[in-house]
Symmetry: C2
Subunit: 155 residues, 2 copies
């Protein structure tokens, strides 16, 4: 009887350990990988490599730029990200909030961008939220991306 209790105790310990590991692997430990992936995405924009930047999008990704309907098709997504990767664009963003649990991740923070709009230099700064989904191959890809400006609206 005492032996059976010991077996149950060992099984419970192993089981608890397993649950703890599963929670851990789905929890905070993914955040450095998510930060690194966001940084790699930024570097693709900074290198003006639009195709590389678009490769960070998961199937079904939606980009939500201000003053335009959500971009869903390949053509719309391409158009949505063109300004961020243009040769004369300078862009920077870095998350001050990173959360990950299981296959779901979120990064959010401030952005700064300088770009040409109809021959006019535009400086903008604002904030963004990017939602990431861990793919079957273990890589994090973007499923939703939204941002807006801190600057007063033009009137």
């Amino acid at each position: 009887m005492r032996f059976r209790i010991a077996i149950v105790a060992v099984c419970l310990a192993v089981s608890t350990f397993g649950v703890a590991q599963a929670k851990k692997s789905g929890g905070g430990s993914a955040e450095p990988a998510l930060r690194a992936q966001e940084d790699a995405w930024l570097k693709a924009f900074q290198a003006h490599d639009l195709n590389k930047a678009l490769a960070f999008l998961a199937p079904g990704a939606v980009a939500m730029a201000p003053n335009a309907p959500p971009a869903k098709t390949q053509k719309e997504l391409h158009e949505a990200y063109v300004p961020l990767a243009s040769a004369d664009t300078k862009i920077n963003f870095k998350a001050d909030y990173v959360a990950a649990s299981g296959d779901l991740g979120v990064t959010s923070g401030p952005y700064q961008i300088t770009m040409m709009d109809n021959g006019k230099k535009v400086d903008d700064k604002g904030k963004y939220v990017t939602v990431w989904k861990k793919q079957a191959d273990g890589s994090w890809k973007v499923v939703r991306d939204i941002f807006n400006s801190d600057m007063p609206a033009a009137h």
Copy 2:
């Protein structure tokens, strides 16, 4: 020896079951609760009950309205959500994307709002992403909330 193998096999089975349960509890099963919580949040705005709406925010929540810096303090958060709960505001939003894993959740979709701006009626529609964190009491609360308009920018 055979008995030890049996113990190990049982332990592995229990452990695997534990991991599977942990993953399950952190997965898709939270999505109905998240949808219900978002709907309750909408109803607080529709009832013009600002205090009730603000109670859906988690400690440290940041609201990211367009054309303003991120709202972080209680005063800023109050100001950010006043227009959504005003007596003459009509608001609607409903997620077409809901994801939850462990204590992290995301809702995203379209919004429509009609409000008075300096005595002028303004119709707006756009999209949003809301990030939710499951609290110690099991309730989902908002940690990040961002939206922008689909309408062309005023020039």
